[in-house]
């Protein structure tokens, strides 16, 4: 399932996928895979991404359908 919340949070800060990837210490392809819903990150990576984007886990990774 696509993670549009993460994509819009990243866009709101005017960050490219590469910039966000550098901030959290992963590859650009990993950020792309998370946004497209092709990869489920570990909790550690989720927290790092939240810290980088200034959001909470619920705001970025909670799926309302659950």
């Amino acid at each position: 399932m696509k993670n549009l919340k993460m994509k819009s949070a990243r866009a709101a800060l005017d960050l490219s996928q590469q910039q966000l990837a550098d901030m959290v210490g992963v590859s650009r392809q990993t950020i792309n895979a998370i946004e497209k819903g092709d990869y489920n990150p570990t909790i550690k990576l989720c927290i790092d991404i939240c810290n980088a984007l200034g959001k909470t886990l619920d705001e970025l990774f909670w799926n309302e359908d659950n």
Binding site: Q17, S27, Q29, T42
Partner: protein, 178 residues
Amino acid sequence: MDSIILFIVCFCIFCVVLFLIIWLGSTLSDKNKVIFDERQLIARNKAYKYAFFVLLLYFTAVEAIDILGVLDFHCSSQSNLGIGLFLSIGTFTVTSIFNDAYIPIINGRPIHSIILYSLLGFSQLYYGMKMIEDNGGIIYDGQINIPIFLSFSILFFMMSLSLLIKLIIDKKASKEKE
């Protein structure tokens, strides 16, 4: 008996020297060390698994064909080894490349590897064809003898082609808006 002991001693010395070279190389190249992120590690682990099972299935199939006597001819052990290695290493490499978990992709220098693999492919192809010419064909001594060089030349060409395709895909993807 003496020759066996000598072989074991030489093999042990070779292993120690190889270990020292690899250790020195990894210590000196810490600056350029490739670190895989969690997704890439998972992708590489999957690639290793696929490669292992491909190799296992291949040798099982070869032995089954041999035992059942389905074919009138069989491959030499060198040919079987070459084809098995080609399938296994090829599986690992192609899976890693298309999951963005291959070192030249991560370093951002796939062109160097494409050129290197192509050159290696051509050199292996030359030696392979020369061996076939010297032996007067692939089939001799009542069995198929595919030179191991030929298997590796196909492997290197396959790796080179995979990297090239991946490079084109990545370039097209980077042109699209994120």
